[in-house]
């Protein structure tokens, strides 16, 4: 019964959507907004990666909201998983020597790679979210390989909080200097140089630290025996 209803529902959805898909041919250029971003993106923002300039600058407000969503999820996870009574730690089986050594060797490399990804977000594919996720996966590796280690919650909370604050403050500085929230008030420099694109790299670095510490915090909260 339930299955039949579900399938009928799905068929209706499919038919409806395919009707409206006829208006959206695959592969045809459709938009003037995207066109303008491509043509004038470098001049406007100084970033050669147009996606980055859209994410951080043209639609930076979305990104602020998105960072907030992740922040909320991390807090909510803390709310749901905190316990009033502390149970004793379960005995942890240590990892084998090979895993341990491998993880310790890889961890700094992953951190460097993550940092590289978000520092170069305005030049190459990648950026704060991807870099942050890579850093968080480094911490995941530490949890697998060196099981008794834990991240320092104070430091990670600080990174979260400061990352968010830097984003908001840069936005407000734009309001002060240029009259618009998130206005790109720093010099844009020459395209394709590391120090270019004004506020974009700064914002992306802040996002990178924030996302990295938040995802690592989420993993830490989930993995903790409670």
């Amino acid at each position: 019964m339930r299955k039949a209803v579900a399938i009928v529902l799905l068929i209706i959805v499919t038919v409806g959507i395919s009707l409206s898909l006829a208006k959206i041919p695959f592969g045809a250029p459709k938009t003037k907004v995207g066109k303008r971003y491509i043509e004038e993106g470098i001049e406007d923002t100084g970033a050669t990666n147009i996606v980055t300039s859209v994410v951080v600058n043209y639609r930076g407000f979305d990104t602020l909201g998105e960072v907030t969503v992740l922040f909320i999820a991390a807090i909510g996870l803390g709310v749901v998983l905190t316990t009033s009574k502390r149970e004793e730690m379960r005995k942890i089986q240590p990892a084998s020597l090979i895993l341990y050594t491998g993880c310790r060797l890889l961890f700094p490399l992953i951190l460097v790679f993550g940092t590289y990804v978000f520092v170069h977000g305005h030049l190459t594919p990648g950026g704060g979210f991807q870099g942050g996720a890579i850093i968080a996966s480094g911490f995941l590796l530490i949890y697998l390989g060196c099981r008794e280690r834990r991240i320092n919650r104070v430091v990670s909370n600080l990174a979260e909080s400061l990352g968010g604050l830097i984003f908001v403050v840069i936005g407000l500085l734009g309001l002060v200097f240029g009259g618009y929230f998130l206005f790109n008030f720093l010099p844009k420099g020459t395209a394709n140089a590391l120090f270019s694109a004004g506020i974009i790299p700064i914002v992306y670095i802040a996002i990178g630290f924030k996302v990295g510490s938040e995802l690592a915090g989420i993993i830490d909260n989930l993995i903790e025996e409670s």
């Binding site: 299955k3 395919s18 695959f26 592969g27 250029p29 971003y37 491509i38 979305d62 990104t63 909510g76």
Partner: protein, 120 residues
């Protein structure tokens, strides 16, 4: 056949994922399974958004060197939207999983049919 596939294969993939995701959410009783369904649904929606922005024989919207023409670049806006949507998706999944862990501690089961504390 081939041209039909070339035109529609990404849409088929995207809406296939969306439908399977919906199916899992509607049918399955296990909470973790439902959350997996939510993840698949998200992936499908993201794939759909990206395929909306594609342009035939397009290039990525990155001016990585000199001499790249802007004529055939794909639309950057859906890509920015999907970056946002991916992060929102993982946030919802993480929260849902934490709730699942708590639910299991309270009820010792994840079967949503068996958890009927609250009635209509």
């Amino acid at each position: 056949m081939m041209s039909f596939l070339a035109d529609y294969i990404y849409y088929i993939g995207a809406f296939g994922l969306i439908l399977i995701g919906f199916y899992i959410i509607l049918i399955k009783h296990n909470l973790i399974k439902v959350i997996i369904g939510l993840g698949i649904l998200d992936t499908g929606v993201n794939l759909f958004l990206i395929s909306v922005g594609y342009i035939t024989k397009g290039t990525a919207p990155i001016f990585s060197g000199p001499g790249i023409d802007s004529e055939h670049m794909v639309d950057p806006v859906p890509q920015a939207l999907v970056l946002t949507a991916i992060v929102i998706g993982v946030a919802v999944l993480a929260l849902a999983l934490s709730l699942a862990i708590r639910l299991y501690q309270h009820y010792d089961t994840l079967n949503l049919r068996k958890i009927r504390e609250q009635k209509w």
